[in-house]
Amino acid sequence: MSVNIKIKNAVKRYGQSTIISDLSLEIKEGEFFTLLGPSGCGKTTLLRMIAGFNTIEGGDFYFNDKRINLLDPAKRNIGMVFQNYAIFPHLSVRQNVAFGLKNRKFPRDRIEAETQKFLELMKIDQYKDRMPEKLSGGQQQRVALARALVIQPDVLLMDEPLSNLDAKLRVEMRFAIKEIQNRVGITTVYVTHDQEEAMAISDRIAVMKDGVIQHIGKPKDLYQRPANLFVSTFIGRTNLLEAKLVVEAGRARLAFPGGFELAMENVRDECRKSQDVIVSIRPEEFVIADGSGAGLKTIVDSSVFLGLNTHYFVHLETGQQLEIIQESKIDEIIPNLSGIALSVKSEKINVFTADGSVNILKGVSDDKTAVGEV
């Protein structure tokens, strides 16, 4: 049976230092939810509060309607997968998987049946009598997952489970995890600092920084309409340019230093006033204009041909460097030191207030704002 998780005004302190000051969050039943952020942002701390391994200094944690703040970790019915797998090295694969069932005092035949079922589900059936040290990293990962899932937990918690695997296996296990989660349909909280991994695997993502949630949304929302400057730089690559938002007769346009101007149709009404802004333009949102048309005047420094795409590194007259990604063309690659003009796909770029705290465009979908009233 799966649950939804509600966290209200959570506080975490270690001695004098406050890691999380006031955090609220709701995770839906059966959802694959990811906590994403740079190291030290408090994501693992929050996960371990849910698991019961960290004390909770304030706020309320609920599984459905049951408050779990003081519930013993052994009784929360949680499946947990650790960064280092935490496989018991002195127990065989089968004994590892059966460990949780034995603690629940299930009858022996049921333990065997359930263990076998999950060994098969995770495709580690053939290794069941091996000791863990004889397994590869990917196989250990599967044991850890089987062990966490076999107890039919209400919640599955995963703390950077793929960070110890090599790149190829990581991609492979991503799909394995996603598939098994879909099949079992269990509420899953996943912690990672790898934004690509988070995008690939999650239903929704909460981006965290310094113990504060910056944005909660679907991967597409985070990438295309990040709630603030931090999210736009943390998810994917981007170029930041200072510019002025000029509003005249109700029409808004961006004025870049050097003279290039761009009409903006989708500025939110309450933000339609002249102000300094920061414009976030992803490398693929530039369009290299022909000849000397209107656009940002730049000089090509270097280029990298990667097959599907070609990356150009250019600089503006101000000296600021920009990265551009273009689908590779059959024509010659633009030679270094050429002058090119850049226009941008105005519907795709994002514009933030000068302090970077708010995206002033329409279409930002952020569940963070909806949590407070739960």
Binding site: A51, D72, P73, A86, I151
Partner: protein
């Protein structure tokens, strides 16, 4: 609910361990300190210290001790570091056997080496007599400084060898290759790269050798003759034939502790400067040596190890010789064994009873303290941790004297009991066992325990079913080393034992002092056999095969 209960169990353990240390370590240390500064009239006085430093007769023991200790440390490094280097860098024939011999050398009681060397090189020693008969020359005197130095060096260089071997195993081969690549090879590489990389370990080994050499008193007592050193002086002041002087013995003990403490601090400060961590992805592989160099390193290795093991071999030989009274005579038999075991019928059972109880206590206490220190660190556990390390810097004879001073009068009279022997052994051995248990536990990620808890196991169950089994390999191999050091312990036990609590090592010592060399040899051989069996068990259990003292 469950958490509440667990909290109580651990709290009881905190208090119990803390109290035990207060009673059996702090109180005896206080007794010794108190005795050292209280005069016969009950007033505070420094007269005992003044007496020590003003009379050359006493104060020169200090200079003697420093002479012995510093030269021993230097010589063990000169012998042990190159030996470890050759052993780990090059193919040496019979290397497994050599290692076993070196470990055995390190594990025998030093005084046994001393008396064996007297048998070989003493005034009537076999070698001395042989050379005199052959050439008419008398070889240099083995008694005094030279003898102590010889015995202690051969006894303690194995520690340097084992420590440095461990460090060399952690050096990544690519570091040596990089050095070669940059033009630093051979002897230059040894001094510029290998030695600096091993520096933290060399310092740790030096400290250990220093402490052992400084505190050892069996060797100087037997072979030192007129060359009086510090620990012997403590012993003679405390138990000597010239009448006992508790206060003076206490004062000398305090001086001893201050000296070892100072060296401990210096070593700590030095190692901090050299501290770095290494992890060998590609450990050094032994290469075959070529030509003259190959002959030289083989000769060096065999010579050093042979010399160090010679006394033990000779003792085994002697144990089968027939004796008549104190003299050896023609023919071989087991009579030394039967007689010595009959005469000291308690010694073997006592060794197992006292050693066994002490071992179990040491292991259990060490596991609990390690768990408290690593997993439940707080002010109390830090205090326990610090206290438990104190005996590391206290010479064994001082521990013995302190216990006698504390527990030879009411309310708690323990002198002459098995209990006081066990307590002494626990106090002396715990610092090492706690260190190794802490190291083992630190290598077990806490997430493994959390995994067990999240799978529904209680904290107690997690401790016994997950934590302890995961530690078990390390604990068992550590326990075996503890066992060997416990059964060969002399300096504390000699102050505390009586005829009822005599152990094998003490029995050997008694026979040696009485001149019953045949019997001593027989029991020493039994002790060696016991050590070999323990070592074989160790090799079976220990994964790393690394011995740490």
């Amino acid at each position: 609910m469950a958490r509440r209960k667990m909290f109580d169990i651990w709290s009881v353990l905190y208090v119990a361990i803390f109290a035990a240390y207060a009673i059996f370590l702090l109180y005896p240390m206080y007794s010794i300190l108190r005795n050292s500064v209280i005069g016969e009239d009950g007033r505070l006085t420094l007269q005992w210290f003044v007496k020590f430093f003003s009379a050359k007769y006493y104060s020169q023991t200090l200079i003697h001790s420093f002479n012995v200790t510093i030269w021993t440390t230097i010589l063990t490094l000169i012998i042990g570091v190159p030996l470890a280097y050759f052993y780990n860098m090059y193919e040496i024939k019979g290397k497994a056997f050599i290692q076993v011999l070196i470990i055995l050398c390190s594990m025998s009681a030093p005084f046994i080496g001393a008396y064996a060397w007297i048998q070989l090189l003493g005034r009537m020693g076999v070698v001395t007599v042989f050379i005199r008969n052959l050439t008419g020359l008398t070889i240099p005197n083995i008694y005094g400084f030279n003898g102590i130095l010889l015995v202690l060096t051969l006894q303690l260089f194995p520690l340097v060898f084992l420590y440095v071997s461990g460090a060399l195993k952690n050096i990544d081969n690519s570091l040596l290759e990089a050095s070669d690549n940059l033009g630093c090879t051979g002897v230059k590489r040894f001094f510029k790269v290998v030695v600096p990389l091993c520096m933290p370990t060399i310092l740790a080994a030096s400290l250990l050798v220093f402490m052992r050499a400084f505190a050892d008193f069996g060797t100087p007592l037997l072979i030192g003759e007129g060359y009086r050193v510090f620990p012997v002086e403590i012993y003679t002041q405390f138990l000597g034939e010239t009448g006992t002087d508790y206060s003076f013995a206490a004062a000398i003990s305090v001086i001893a502790i201050l000296i070892t403490a100072a060296f401990f601090m210096v070593q700590r400060a030095l190692s901090k400067r050299f501290a770095f961590t290494m992890n060998a992805l590609h450990p050094i592989e032994r290469k075959p040596a070529k030509g003259m160099f190959k002959v030289l390193i083989h000769f060096y290795t065999y010579f050093v190890v042979g010399l160090a093991f010679l006394p033990q071999l000779y003792i085994v030989y002697q144990s089968f010789q027939n004796t008549s009274g104190k003299l050896f005579k023609e023919g071989y038999s087991f009579s030394s064994y039967t007689t010595s075991i009959k005469r000291m019928s308690d010694a073997i059972p006592n060794t197992f009873i006292i050693g066994g109880i002490a071992l179990v206590a040491v292991v259990l206490i060490a596991i609990v303290i390690a768990y408290l220190v690593v997993r439940r660190s707080n002010v109390v556990t830090t205090a326990i941790d610090t206290m438990s390390m104190l005996p590391y810097i206290i010479p064994g004879s001082v521990v013995g004297i302190a216990l006698v001073m504390a527990f030879n009068k009411k309310p708690l009279v323990l002198t002459g009991t098995v209990a006081i022997m066990v307590i002494a052994l626990c106090i002396r051995r715990l610092p090492y066992t706690i260190r190794s248990s802490v190291a083992i536990l630190q290598q077990i990620p806490i997430t493994i325990e959390e995994a067990a808890i999240s799978l529904g196991a209680s904290k107690m169950k997690t401790f016994f079913r997950i934590t302890v089994p995961m530690m078990s390999n390390g604990i068992i191999s550590g326990a075996i080393i503890s066992w060997v050091t416990i059964i060969t312990e002399l300096s504390t036990a000699i102050i505390l034992y009586n005829s009822k609590t005599i152990t094998l090592t003490l029995a050997i010592y008694t026979f040696v002092t009485r001149g019953n060399y045949g019997y001593a040899a027989a029991l020493a051989t039994v002790l060696t056999a016991l050590t070999i069996v323990s070592l074989m068990v160790f090799m079976k259990f220990s994964k790393s095969k690394e011995i740490t003292f």
